[in-house]
């Protein structure tokens, strides 16, 4: 700087700078270029090296590869480039055309409202684009112009004002005499503009064209909003859809909410399975009712969606004895028992029997015992002792005898006397009098997941265990789950029951996400996802239960389907989220070590809203 004035006098054209300034300039250039250089270097590294602790900072890749380039091309980046070129060209052409015409009038003539027009143009170039997003989206929606190149028309709001402004400046530099000469030669205004003025202002036209092209090329917000279809994505939008990782602001969220250190979770892109975010994803946690996801998967896989069971009435050892045989229909209703009673009555009448003893056979499952890790307080209202006979989901200590009583009452109502109701086993080879079919397993799964029904879960787990060939015991359930989960490569779940009530159950976030991906990928298992409660709307996630009904998580209402879980010190949520960007994400969050209050549940809902991207 010191040499500025003195050297200028002696050597007017070139000067020698002192080394300090050169150093500053060199540093500046380095800073400007460095990000590109580094990305260039990184682009030749395989994924493991890019994220490796040591390899990430190496200048030269250990195993250089061009896979990243082929991947990006395979994912259709060239289509995005094509879109960008088309969109930018259309915008440039019409903007230069429109701007030239109006700039010509503004530069050449004075008229009323000219200052106002110029002020308007200047004002538009300044206002926040965000203000037009809502109305323009609605306009495009109503005119069915979403997902098309019509987006270029909306680009006028960001390109046209500055284009007009620059063109005015350039048109003014062209001497008036040139145009007058042209007019004398018989040119119309139209011809004067395009034949005389426009070519003479070529440098200005080029500047305008380049500025417009770059503005359109850089545009992000309008394309993101109006063209959500990947087929119309331009480069900036497409490239961000490709990104392999983004950061959920864990620190921010935990500070803003009451989640503590005992939190784990994982978020992945549903289609590709790439990890978006994870935290302690391999730490086994109690996950409460998330276990029902595994139960549902196993039931659909082993039994199938159409499987039903048949509750029967068999003959007893004597003609005055009938046996109500429980086959594990957890959805059995009084009405169904009534139909059973009607058929039985008809049979008894035909044989002239008017009084019977009702035996209740619940020997399909061994005598009930609490699962490892169950609390005494669970019985009977969290879950009834597991028996293969239950009616209307009455949660009582002995559901089988309860069902027997209901059946006996139905018999009495139909005119058959019942001497007693007691537990017993049907005689070998006894004939069947009547039977009622249960709803299909699909209904069970839906009801279980929607309401987080523990009785259905345990019954379903046992029926599945029997079908696989294991006993209907806790150990059998444990081995069945291990077998089925291993078949799908899901590791990291140690389960002792079918409902997740057990305090000994452990799952990792990664295992839950793997399970969600598994069921999403297979048509036969997909009901596991579609039956999940809809945030803020159905099942355990209704607004009435305080879920997804307050800001900030209310924005995710209707966009998240998830299984919720709660034990007294655990809150969990896992499912799918339709993100604002239009992709699906799979997520799981588990918060342990805090009393499971509504506040914590709402905080977990907030995490789901973060996945949606609307918080």
């Amino acid at each position: 700087m010191t040499s500025l004035a003195t050297t200028k006098k002696t050597t007017p054209s070139r000067e020698r700078l002192n080394p300090l300034i050169w150093l500053v300039i060199a540093l500046f250039l380095f800073v400007m270029v460095f990000p590109f250089l580094w990305i260039l270097i990184t682009s030749f590294k395989p994924g493991a090296e890019i994220y490796g602790r040591d390899t990430a900072f190496r200048l030269i890749a250990v195993n250089p590869t061009i896979d990243n380039y082929t991947t990006v091309i395979n994912k259709g980046i060239l289509d995005a480039v094509k879109n960008s070129v088309i969109v930018s060209l259309i915008t440039t052409l019409y903007v230069v055309f429109v701007a030239s015409m109006s700039a010509y009038i503004i530069a050449r003539f004075s008229f009323r409202g000219k200052r106002m027009l110029m002020g308007l143009i200047l004002g538009i170039s300044m206002f926040p684009q965000m203000i037009i997003i809502g109305p323009v989206f609605n306009m495009f929606y109503n005119l069915k112009m979403l997902n098309s190149y019509w987006v270029t028309m909306a680009y006028s709001t960001i390109t046209l004002p500055s284009a007009v402004w620059i063109m005015i400046a350039h048109f003014k530099r062209i001497p008036l005499s040139v145009e007058e000469a042209a007019r004398i030669d018989g040119c119309s205004q139209w011809q004067a503009l395009w034949i005389v003025i426009f070519p003479m202002a070529a440098p200005g036209v080029f500047t305008t064209a380049i500025m417009t092209f770059i503005a359109a090329w850089n545009e992000y917000l309008l394309t993101l909003t109006l063209n959500s279809d990947k087929a119309y994505h331009t480069v900036p939008v497409a490239i961000n859809a490709l990104r392999t990782q983004f950061t959920i602001l864990w620190g921010e969220i935990t500070a803003a909410t009451v989640l503590g250190r005992g939190t784990s979770g994982m978020v992945v892109d549903a289609a590709s399975g790439r990890r978006i975010w994870s935290h302690r994803e391999d730490v086994p946690m109690r996950a409460a009712s998330l276990v029902k996801l595994a139960t549902a998967l196993a039931a659909l896989d082993v039994l199938g969606a159409d499987h039903t069971v048949r509750t029967r009435v068999d003959r007893g050892a004597t003609t005055r004895q009938i046996v109500l045989v429980g086959r594990g229909d957890a959805l059995l209703t009084t009405a169904a028992l009534g139909r059973l009673a009607t058929a039985t009555t008809r049979d008894l009448r035909n044989r002239g029997v008017t009084r019977v003893e009702v035996l209740v056979d619940d020997s399909l499952f061994p005598a009930p015992s609490p699962a490892p890790g169950w609390l005494k307080s669970y019985h009977p209202h969290e879950v009834a002792p597991v028996r293969p006979l239950i009616v209307d989901q009455h949660e009582v200590m002995d559901t089988a005898l309860d069902a027997g009583q209901v059946f006996a009452a139905a018999m009495k109502a139909r005119g058959i006397g019942v001497t007693s109701v007691r537990r017993g086993v049907r005689p070998r080879g006894a004939a069947t009098i009547a039977g009622v079919e249960s709803p299909p397993v699909l209904d069970w799964v839906e009801r279980m997941l929607l309401r987080s029904d523990n009785d259905i879960a345990e019954t379903l787990a046992r029926l599945t265990a029997i079908d696989v060939g294991y006993p209907a015991t806790w150990e059998g359930v444990n081995r069945m789950q291990a077998t089925v989960l291993a078949r799908y490569g899901i590791t990291g779940m140690t389960l002792y029951d079918g409902s997740g009530l057990s305090r000994s159950d452990r799952v990792t976030a990664r295992a839950v996400v793997t399970l969600l991906r598994t069921v999403r990928a297979r048509r036969a298992l997909r009901p596991v996802l579609s039956a999940l409660p809809l945030a803020g709307r159905t099942g355990t996630l209704t607004a009435a239960r305080g879920r997804f009904d307050t800001r900030p998580s209310s924005c995710a209402a209707g966009r998240v389907r998830a299984k919720s879980g709660a034990l007294r010190d655990t809150v969990s949520l896992a499912g799918t989220a339709a993100t604002v960007e239009g992709d699906d994400s799979l997520f799981v969050f588990v918060v342990a070590g805090q009393p499971s209050t509504l506040t914590v549940r709402r905080a977990v809902d907030g995490l789901a809203a973060t996945v949606v991207g609307c918080w």
């Binding site: 007017p12 990000p35 429109v98 003539f109 109305p135 009534g338 609307c614």
Partner: protein
Amino acid sequence: MTWKQFLFVLPLLLLVTTFSLYPIFTSGVYSLFDYQTNDQTRNAVYTGSKLNAPLLVEDGDYLLFYLRKDREIASPEAYAAIDALSADISAFLAPYEGHRQPIDLSEAGAEAVTAFLDDIEARITGLVGAYPELDLRVSAGLDNQIPEMRSTIVGSNFIGLAGYRQLFGDQRFFDDLRNTLIFTLVSVFFELIIGMGLALVMNRPMRGVGLVRTVSLIPWAIPTAVSALIWTYLYDGTSGIVARVFTQLGLIASPELLLTSAGGTMAAAIIADVWKTTPYMALLLLAGLQVIDRGLYESASVDGAGPMRTFTQITLPLLKPSLLVALLFRTLDAFRVYDLIAVLTKGTPETLSIYAYKVMIGQGNYGYGAVIVLAMFLCVGLIALLYVKVLGAELMND
């Protein structure tokens, strides 16, 4: 202006009206309504009462479906009641079928709908009560469909200035306003200082100035969304080189803080913005510098003025118009920042644009979203006014 001249300006006026003025006006209208796209009773601007006919018909169809199913299990003596109910519901729904949008509803019309719903609710209750052992499906309609059908009569969602009142109590808005102002002031400040230095350097006749000029334009020519993406890699907590270097220099305690803490994200966003837009600032200033008569500098040095004095007494005053224009445009640009932060951190530090986008597009709340953008609009106006006051009429001179 002759009509021919008017024709020349017409395309401009049409575009500006359609894509700028009309949307601004519409936003103003939205801001007066409780307009939420994810709520069927509020997903448009309703000035009068409306009937959500599509929902009414859909719910009615459910009732008819239940009744059909119930007829299969019911005993013949119940047929008459079920058939009469089905026929009445069908007859009532007929005029409302085929609509895809809510329709206008007169006061008498609203009363008719309510009366009808009261009637069928009573009849369904009676039917269910008459055959308790049948477990009729239509009983579900009493819990679900009938209440929902009642909600299809939608009153006006005009709320006047309530949205604006909500804004004044909205702590998140003021937090975001603060974030936006910090981001704007700090980044424009650094852009000005560095850009000025760069412009002064480039204004000298020296070797290599072309290289400096070309290289410094690279960041500016890259789409913001793409450059933000580049920075996310550089800032990454485990593999980002910038995060690592900053940690080693002791600027941050641990590398992941750049993208996961409030202060870190603000710094990260500002650095990325300064990196990208400083060259643009420098070019605007350079244009201003180049029109300053070099003779002035020579006279100054003859008069014995030092470089500092030359800068403050000659360069700055003569540069003022270009300086203010450059500052104005950069300030407004920074104030409405969206894509940089949306891509860099998915929205932290939350600025007003991010908030508005989340409310409008993310939460589907167009009404309150419009209030936020109009508040932004007001801020932009104030900023522009401030500059124009300083600038005088220079900007508008023709």
